[in-house]
Symmetry: C2
Subunit: 429 residues, 2 copies
């Protein structure tokens, strides 16, 4: 057996402690699999004395996190600090510059600076790996980078945020409204006190930008992701979707269709016969559609210390085995700088929901707006009264360009007949 792979860990939150626990529990097995021991030599975090449930006195303590990049015994630095910039980015740059390998769970940093870091890694022949950055324990980076590498990928999409899926699943099973379930999720620790990154779709968008790059051979383009979270979803949307044979999921979708790179995070209606409809609770799932392999579906725990540690250590095992190459499946300079696609050209079916005043002529106004914009209606349900006395009108359109639907909504927006903003959701096709 060769020399151990020596690891320095920056950041000892639940994931950092999880990595230590994992290597303690499975170290012997991992040494058999990796052909060498994986050994933590140094750690750095804000608070040395904090009780993390693991003994860290065995490791060198480094006060200045940035110093890990130059720790003389470390072959790899594992970054679990978080944040797209700041100390995490400084550490990444410095580690790769030193020719040391770099493993991270930091989706924001990779989405924003992945291209720069991939170049830096290539310059010094270091590994840059981030399996834990997308969909937690599910090996979907590997699935795209290697497993599906023989395919032209037409579309990659998935349920990428466990907090949102937990909230939507609970709204669905208990018929409750968003704000109510969010408050409970926060109380239970399933949602952050400041939940915006999750529920507004930013976290899912970071992950989607990374998946898109791997799938299509394009540069990570987080700024091109159109993002809508789940704040505006109401219980009635989920009930109407269910009555039509759909479940509501926050889905990130990326497509490269020749006219540009399309990336969108948005609540979708998912047909019951699609596997994403069955992704329950806080699970994550990713689908990749390849021109030879067809549809691949990966599901598992998208967060949590155990699953995330599993992905981090999988990266370490790859490095220990010497089985690594360009971070985004091809050299950074081979990644295409693709422009964003015009979403108006997209064709699909959509769900529209209006909260309207209960008065004469409202339905005619909506129907006329649809007709004038050329939106063909497949089904329309007017139902019940909301707590505020307004009425719900839910529409499913036939397939057509998104541009037409947007025009109809523009026409209606601001009408005194509407009790609030109309809701538009694509139906996953």
């Amino acid at each position: 057996m060769t020399e151990p792979l020596r690891v320095a860990i920056a950041g000892l939150g639940t994931v950092g402690a999880g990595v230590i626990k994992l290597l303690d529990a499975n170290g012997a097995l991992i040494a058999r699999r990796a052909g060498r021991k994986i050994e933590i030599v140094a750690v750095s975090a804000r608070d040395r004395a904090k009780d993390r449930g693991v003994d860290i006195t065995r490791f060198d303590w480094v006060d200045d996190t940035g110093g890990l990049a130059r720790h003389e015994r470390a072959d790899v630095v594992v970054e679990l600090i978080g944040g797209s910039d700041g100390p995490a980015l400084t550490l990444a740059r410095e580690t790769l510059k030193q020719g040391r390998h770099f493993v991270t769970a930091n989706k924001a940093m990779i989405a924003h600076h992945g291209l720069e870091l991939a170049r830096a890694a290539e310059t010094t022949n270091a590994a840059l790996k981030f399996e834990a950055a997308v969909a937690g324990g599910i090996p979907v980076i590997k699935g795209l980078r290697e497993g599906a590498a023989a395919n032209e990928i037409g579309r990659v999409y998935g349920v990428l945020n466990g907090t949102c899926n937990f909230i939507l699943s609970k709204m669905e099973s208990e018929g409750r409204d968003f704000g109510d379930v969010l408050a409970e999720a926060q109380a239970l620790g399933y949602a952050e006190a400041d939940p915006g990154f999750d529920i507004d779709g930013v976290d899912a968008a970071h992950k989607l930008a990374i998946l898109a790059s791997l799938a299509f051979g394009t540069r990570p383009a987080f700024d091109q992701v159109a993002i809508t979270g789940i704040r505006e979803v109401i219980a009635a949307d989920i009930a109407e979707a269910a009555s039509l044979g759909y479940r509501l999921r926050l889905v990130g979708v990326a497509e490269a269709n020749g006219t540009g790179l399309f990336q969108r995070v948005h609540p979708h209606l998912v047909p019951l016969d699609h596997p994403l409809a069955h992704v329950a609770g806080s699970l994550n799932a990713v689908v990749a559609e390849g021109n030879f392999v067809g549809r691949l579906f990966f599901e598992g725990a998208g967060a949590g210390d155990g699953p995330t540690a599993s992905a981090v250590v999988a990266d370490l095992i790859d490095i220990a085995r010497g089985e690594f190459g360009p971070a985004f499946a091809m050299p950074a300079d081979a990644l295409a700088a693709e422009a964003g696609a015009d979403t108006g050209d997209r064709r699909g079916r959509a769900y529209l929901r209006f909260a309207v005043a209960d008065k004469l002529g409202v339905l005619a106004e909506i129907a006329a707006a649809m007709r004038d914009a050329g939106v063909s209606i497949e089904s329309l349900i007017q139902r019940g009264a909301m707590p505020d006395g307004s009425v719900i009108v839910a529409i499913v359109t036939h397939e057509g360009p998104e541009r037409s639907v947007a025009a109809a909504l523009d026409k209606l927006r601001g009408s005194p007949s509407l009790a609030g903003e109309p809701m538009w959701m694509p139906i996953l096709g």
Copy 2:
């Protein structure tokens, strides 16, 4: 860009032709991803003149398949002949002996001779890769070997045979009996004229033996797989299962629980809230349960020329990138020779079905046999009459040792009250 990776293909059936088509269609993209071109240089098959929908005159034709192992321009030999022994095995041995890489879709050969071939590959530092041997296009070998490598895997299981799942799905959706659906599947080309390998569970068992080795670090032990196929499943089993909230699937299950290696292919009742219950038609799916990552679920096309070619070429890309190591995740000599587990010790719930004569006292006889063997009954349904006038008694047991159920069935077997062999199926827990 470095030299191309030069490939020789043995066997030009649908999969062999699929590999050629894939490299023709996606070659430029693959070269970007792999960092070098993947180039077919030689082929060998039974019939040179056969129309395969691809031009093979560009490649060296080798009459003697075994000669590919010594083809001077080939870096890799891809074996798509099939058969656990014979020319495929000879080719594998000779190729690896020459220090050339070897890629195969041959589950039977890897299940039977994987250990020997892994040793041979290590001796010459050649790659031995077989992603296509299990679950077609789904990167599940990679998922276990690398993606989940940080975990102690407690159990690996899945729907591993698309023909069986197609038949069971169709029996379910159309309420038809086995023989009837099999005949249709054969007419449509979904089942072989000689379907035994598929429907008797042998094909699934080959795949399971490979998965178990990767998951547990044990030697492939096909001979230890307990195999029961789907011939004895009747429409009434599927209907009773459905009424109880289950779907019927042929599931291969492997567990390493400290008392030995448990491997079984058997029809199972799968609860509707388990993702395997939603694996429809000819799809395959694999679940791995790791001690840190939790439950990972992979689904996709388990057969067909496109998906299988996708897996074969994924292996070639790994080789082109230099990202390969021991075939079974660890050196062959590190794989444990684990004895088979005693299945009688297993605890679980089970479904039992009896076709009984419609006469006084039969139910009492069955109930007494259960009581005497200590089998506790959770539910019992006696229903309707079969075409032959017999009556169906379906039982779900409480959790208990399999030994007790076996004793009860032994007692009943041969009783003049029974119209046929009792059916026993575990309930996936």
